[in-house]
């Protein structure tokens, strides 16, 4: 008496679990073929270091997309945190606690407001986070009057550029955040709740899950990770300008999609998203290696986005 329904279940053309590593290897292989020095440990480390802030942000974006949302405010959060970090204009680490506290506070406020708007006021995540991005931008520019600047505590420089036992600190941060995120999402009840809510918020409510709380948690996580990424980025660059972090919001969505996430929610993983971010970064570097002009990276990025989304999407039944 076992008969399955005749409607075909949506299948993917390609699963990210296999597709991503393959894509990565293929890219590396081609690059290495054209320019063997591309595969040097030094170069690869450089690329990963450049990718670090994006990797951190994409992990946060993953949380939000999993619960059927989007976070367009992450770049603004990064930039505002960069302003906070340089606001004290000193290399003395005594101000570090204040910087961290302010950044954390900012992230909590932004994330909570984003989450509240989406959950309680039923605002579209696209618009809610877009509005938040604009408001933050205004606040930040108002504070700096369009002329940000100042020195950073040396600890942040270390965060961005330092090394521990030969491994760049920012990479360690990425790995640390990734490990926590991956374990949380795949092994804990909170993680399970996130997937259930993303799959169907109504079903989640009916099994006793507080979908609103879970969703707000994801927005807060995204904001916090954006803040962390901002600190890493400003630490890496060493200074701040008006548009630091610009483009990270769209790039993080793109990276997550390359990593096979479903914009409809309930499907995706932080590891795949990070792989997507690395592939995105690789394509940027690829362009330079292959000898194409720098602007070509935008073209390649565009093509990669569409190709990845097309390959990883589920075909309708």
């Amino acid at each position: 008496m076992s008969h399955t329904s005749s409607a075909a279940s949506p299948r993917r053309l390609l699963s990210p679990a296999t597709g991503l590593p393959i894509a990565l290897l293929v890219l590396l292989a081609i690059a290495g073929f054209i320019q063997p020095s591309f595969l040097s440990a030094r170069n690869l480390q450089d690329i990963l270091t450049q990718a670090a802030p994006l990797c951190i942000v994409v992990i946060g974006q993953t949380f939000v997309i999993l619960v059927r949302g989007l976070d367009l405010s992450v770049a603004s959060v990064m930039a505002t945190v960069a302003v906070i970090a340089t606001a004290f204009n000193t290399t003395d680490n005594a101000v570090l606690p204040q910087i961290i506290a302010l950044s954390l506070l900012l992230a909590l406020v932004v994330g909570t407001i984003n989450g509240y708007l989406v959950v309680k006021r039923n605002v579209s995540p696209f618009l809610a986070t877009l509005a938040m991005m604009t408001v933050l931008q205004g606040v930040r520019f108002y504070y700096t009057q369009g002329a940000p600047g100042g020195s950073l505590p040396s600890a942040l420089r270390f965060l961005g550029t330092g090394q521990v036992a030969g491994v760049p600190v920012n990479l360690l941060v990425v790995l640390g955040v990734l490990a926590i995120a991956a374990i949380l999402l795949s092994r804990t009840t909170l993680g399970r709740k996130i997937y259930i809510v993303g799959g169907n918020p109504r079903s989640a409510e009916l099994v006793g899950i507080n979908a609103g709380r879970v969703t707000i948690f994801c927005y807060v996580t995204s904001a916090v990770l954006a803040a962390l990424s901002g600190l890493v980025l400003v630490g890496f660059v060493g200074s701040v300008d008006n548009w630091v972090g610009r483009g990270y919001e769209l790039d993080s969505i793109v990276a997550a999609v390359i990593g096979g996430i479903a914009l409809t929610g309930g499907r995706g993983s932080p590891i795949n998203s990070v792989l997507g971010a690395i592939i995105l970064m690789l394509t940027f570097n690829f362009v330079v290696i292959v000898g194409l002009p720098v602007q070509a990276q935008f073209v390649i990025k565009g093509l990669v986005i569409i190709a990845a989304a097309a390959l990883f999407r589920r075909m309708p039944a």
Partner: protein, 502 residues
């Protein structure tokens, strides 16, 4: 108008949906199409309306061989299907919905809005209904929306109308109006195919009946030549008596586990009272729209209540939320299995553990091996046809999905189990199993509140029945008083004569 389908074959990977089926409809006839879920009715209608191309067989309209390459071809030939899932545009007006593909135009080729509204009004009038054609469709009741669908078909001069389970979402007065319209259309010479599980309606409306089973034609008979038992036997292939487990001798003794008094919840629940005892199956009957599901949601806590009291084992139970109810031992298998119940993106084990994650975790970390082991037990216990606990639930048949839900809730909640349409969309074999499980659960002490629109099922399964009408409880039927007629009488009784549950 004479449409004839001959020796239709249609298959999909792994399944042969239609196997040499003959079917015909004349203008001015109501031809009922019956059969269990999966029998092939919906596939046959999709072939008839051009959504599917048959693998073999032919379609003749008025003696001419025809082939539909797309639904538009069938529509152009005058064939219209009113699906269960209404295909309307909620933010557009009634008139806009009716005339979307063929609006009246002015001299310059632009749409003549006032003519559109006028014509819509006249079609609706022909159907005996007064809806303002400028109203947005989302503001209409489901029954009125169905009228708009029929009006759409009429605006395009339909010659054949297929009604797919039209009374699944309406009942009572609205259903009467529908039957009235069907009569009018029949007199106008329109051919009507009427698909329904409600045998009373079939016998009332149809001239002929076609029975399908497992993709094959069982028989096409004149309605007057057959009676209910014969029809069911053709559909099901076995005697009615075998379907339901033997009733238990039960009388409402002891203390109720759930006591509901004067429950009120906008917009549908007005005044509901009943008692639920451990170990019994209490049926909650009434017409569609009576507010039964809403009562269930209000008791469970997934809808807000505005008045009245609920007592759980003697203690007042206010501030209900699903989470609190689950903790208190109340489970709820909702009506909408695919939309709300089953988690389509997850495997069987995850579906089963969902309301009770706490018991599968320690310090917040999930115990996957235990989750799997428990799922395996439940799969065995409910005889779920699935290769293993890590397989995706969305690939299962309706009956198996329903079993997963039963496993989920019966595992987590041991005091009260609310079942809303537990066998909707489930094939007969699985139905029988599910009935057995429900009875076993009741025997083990669980109090079961069962909502069902299938009178047969309600009468066959329940120990007692509470009947609702338009948001109020009208009366309770004890074991000896239970019959389909008694339920219907209370479900359609005048509001003046209300009786309260004791």
């Amino acid at each position: 108008m004479y449409l004839e389908l001959t020796k239709i074959e249609k298959g999909f990977p792994g399944v042969r949906s239609l196997d040499g089926v003959d079917f015909s409809v004349r203008g001015g006839e109501v031809h009922a199409l019956v059969g269990e879920n999966g029998a092939g009715k919906s596939t046959l209608m999709k072939v008839l309306s051009g959504i599917y191309l048959p693998d073999a067989g032919s379609i003749h309209l008025d003696g001419e061989l025809r082939q539909w390459r797309a639904p538009a071809d069938a529509i152009a030939a005058g064939i219209h299907v009113i699906h269960q899932e209404l295909m309307l545009f909620p933010e557009r007006s009634v008139a806009e919905n009716i005339f979307l593909t063929n609006p009246p135009r002015t001299r310059f080729g632009l749409i003549d809005t006032s003519a559109m509204v006028e014509r819509a009004a006249s079609i609706l009038e022909r159907l005996g209904h007064e809806i303002d054609p400028r109203t947005k469709v989302r503001k209409l009741s489901v029954a009125d929306q169905q009228m708009v669908e029929i009006a759409k078909a009429l605006s395009a001069d339909a010659r054949l109308l297929v009604l797919d389970e039209p009374t699944a979402v309406i009942s009572g007065r609205e259903a009467e109006l529908l039957f009235d319209r069907v009569e009018r259309l029949r007199k106008d010479g329109v051919g009507i195919v009427y698909i329904s599980h409600r045998l009373e309606e079939i016998f009332r409306l149809s001239d002929r009946i076609t029975v399908l089973k497992d993709g094959k034609l069982v028989a096409t008979v004149d309605t007057k030549d057959v009676d209910r038992d014969k029809l069911v036997a053709m559909m099901v292939g076995r005697e009615l008596a075998d379907i339901y487990p033997p009733p238990r001798k039960f009388s409402g003794v002891g203390k109720p586990v759930l006591s509901v008094r004067n429950l009120k919840s906008a917009p549908r629940v007005k005044d509901v009272s009943f008692d639920l005892f451990p170990g019994e199956i209490l049926g909650l009957g009434g017409l569609v729209g009576a507010g039964r599901s809403e009562v269930a949601h209000t008791v469970f806590g997934s809808e807000a209540s505005e008045g009245g009291t609920v007592e759980l084992a003697g203690d007042t139970y206010h501030h209900r939320t699903p989470s609190v109810s689950i903790q208190a031992g109340i489970g709820f298998v909702t009506e909408d299995r695919k939309g709300e119940g089953v988690m389509m993106l997850m495997d069987c084990a995850r579906n089963i553990s969902a309301p009770d994650l706490g018991s599968f975790s320690e310090h917040g970390f999930l115990d996957s091996p235990r989750e799997e082991a428990v799922a395996k037990e439940e799969i065995a216990r409910f005889r779920i046809a699935i290769p293993g606990p890590r397989y995706m639930v969305r690939n299962l048949s309706g009956g198996n999905q329903q079993k997963v839900l039963l496993a989920r809730w019966s595992r987590a909640c041991h005091r009260v189990l609310i079942l809303d349409e537990p066998t909707r969309g489930v094939d007969v074999g699985a139905k029988v199993e599910i009935y057995k499980f429900i009875r076993e659960l009741a025997d083990s002490g669980v109090a079961i509140l069962m909502i069902s629109s299938e009178l047969n099922e309600l009468v066959g399964m329940s120990d007692r029945i509470v009947v609702m009408r338009e948001g109020r409880t009208m009366g309770t039927l004890e074991k000896t008083e239970i019959s389909e007629a008694a339920v219907m009488q209370l479900a359609t009784a005048e509001t003046g004569k209300e009786g309260r549950a004791t």
